[in-house]
Symmetry: C2
């Protein structure tokens, strides 16, 4: 668990703010740049490009450019990216299953600290 532990760096990328979301969307198949923007409305062009680049750099996503009149670019998961699919969806599903419990725990906690002495 030391700072040098290599998997920590890997985890950081995979669990980064936008990384997870992008990966989840890409798990649905290939998508164009603008499609990704629409899929995640609150991401900026800047962050979308940058996060995409990180995923590409880590060999998780592949970029394919079509030199059409208005250029279009497609992104899809690589084999490595697909191997992440299972553990990641497991985590996402856990999050969905647990959100109610967490919400309740949070409300209780806040109530306790606010009221409770």
């Amino acid at each position: 668990m030391s700072a040098e532990c290599p998997s920590r760096e890997v985890l950081q990328h995979v669990t980064s703010r936008w990384g997870v979301l992008l990966l989840v969307v890409l798990m649905g198949g290939m998508h164009r740049f603008s499609e990704l923007r629409r899929a995640i409305p609150d991401i900026s062009k800047r962050m979308l490009t940058q996060t995409l680049r990180d995923l590409e750099r880590d060999g998780l996503a592949a970029r394919r450019v079509f030199p059409t009149k208005p250029p279009s670019v497609e992104y899809r998961l690589t084999a490595l990216g697909n191997s992440l699919l299972e553990p990641l969806t497991a985590l996402v599903m856990w999050a969905e299953r647990s959100q109610t419990k967490i919400k309740r725990a949070r409300a209780e906690f806040d109530g306790a600290t606010a009221a409770g002495a």
Copy 2:
């Protein structure tokens, strides 16, 4: 995948920089505050406390205080926290399995962009 999607918030906590690490350590059983510091050398007191509080607030970890001479505090996972164990370790194991491939992909990518036109 909208900004309001509740699971996004949940994921953010669980996948936060120190959250993952703390959870992984706590999966090994109960730990004292100072033990956690030693387990994750590069976390500051401040962040340790804060992250612990977040986990507690979300009902993932439980805090137990012993009013001994020098006070001691123990942290352990709750039932909800334990339910996260499986998906999270799956992800960590994936990270460990894949780190070599990712390192290679990264080297190749950097080499290509540096040299390649």
